[in-house]
């Protein structure tokens, strides 16, 4: 069941244009074939991957064999980096592997919640932009940090809905609303989206895209869940475009304020 976005409603990031507003990750899948099928079902065009040391005892375990790099834009992340310097090192390695210069900047020194370090992220972003990378920074839902990153020249900002892998949905709604209102670059809600309704909520708020990994990978039926997220994302986007009737608050009756205006 293919979920088509509204004609012409394309997502533009840096110099590329995409039809799908769902980005997917490739972590935590049981095996590559299942991952590949789920990516296909999601309709995503941007797929994130990580960089790790090769396990010399299992040389043939190569994820790229299960992802058609002509069809999908591979977006390497810098997970594992604990500061700007390590993030830079990982980004340069990804580039050396022949990937396009796109990088999901992810500096998560704190292992339990994997929350992004704003200071190192800002530092790394500046260096990476200068080196010609298209930077998509994963950040906490911090509107000021988002504007700072925009000023430095990142291609998007990717505020978290809730911690990575928590599947708790959007616990940062008020901040994300401000980020969306103030942004001049695309806003991708990334991390913590645990159900299609969470993706729909982000899109209804006006987010430009969402990134989902855990919720699809660990589902009983990852392919089915990928399709569900595709529909949730498209539905939320369609609702936003159709002009959501925002929640109403009744006007307060009070003494005639405009009495001074008389009739003219």
């Amino acid at each position: 069941m293919s979920v088509t976005s509204k004609a012409g409603d394309t997502l533009k990031i840096a110099d590329r244009t995409f039809n799908s507003r769902l980005l997917v990750g490739t972590g935590k899948f049981e095996h590559p074939e299942l991952m590949s099928a789920a990516i296909q079902a999601s309709g995503a065009e941007i797929v994130t991957v990580a960089l790790r040391r090769v396990d010399l005892t299992r040389p043939d375990e190569d994820i790229l064999s299960a992802i058609d790099t002509d069809k999908y834009l591979l977006l390497p992340n810098t997970s594992g980096a604990r500061d700007a310097e390590e993030a830079l090192r990982l980004a340069r390695m990804a580039r050396a592997a022949g990937m396009p210069d796109w990088i999901k900047l992810e500096v998560t020194p704190e292992p339990r919640y994997l929350l992004p370090d704003p200071v190192e992220t800002l530092k790394a972003a500046e260096l990476l932009v200068k080196e010609g990378f298209t930077v998509l920074p994963y950040i906490g839902a911090d509107p000021l940090l988002a504007k700072r990153l925009e000023e430095i020249g990142t291609a998007t900002v990717m505020p978290l809905g809730s911690p990575i892998g928590s599947n708790r949905g959007i616990l940062t709604r008020a901040s994300i609303e401000i980020i969306i209102e103030q942004a001049n670059i695309p806003v991708v809600v990334d991390a913590g989206l645990g159900a299609p309704s969470h993706a729909a909520e982000a899109m209804e708020m006006g987010a430009d895209a969402v990134l989902v990994n855990t919720a699809i990978a660990i589902a009983d039926d990852p392919v089915g869940m990928a399709e569900a997220f595709a529909m949730g994302t498209a539905a939320g986007r369609a609702g936003y475009l159709a002009g959501l009737a925002s929640s109403s608050r009744n006007a307060i009756a009070s003494s005639p304020l405009t009495g001074f205006l008389g009739k003219n």
Binding site: G25, T26, G27, K28, F29, M35, T48, V49, A50, L51, R52, R53, V54, L56, P59, D60, D62, I63, L64, L74, P76, N77, S79, R92, M93, A94, A96, A97, G98, I164, G165, A191, L211, N213, T214, A217
Partner: protein
Amino acid sequence: MRVMVNGEGIEVEDGATVAALLNQLGLPGDRTVVELSGQVVTREEHTSKVIADGDTVELIRFVGGG
């Protein structure tokens, strides 16, 4: 000669190139990132870059990630 690869000691022919090492380990040249003593070796240099005694080699590749 003996070379440290991803933290393990490995016997390698004297004068072996990066490409030869990858081949010896059964790793695909076009999708493995090689760092020789902290310096990233670009793919074009795989066949020309010779590994010296005492070099440390880091082999990195893409895995699943969010």
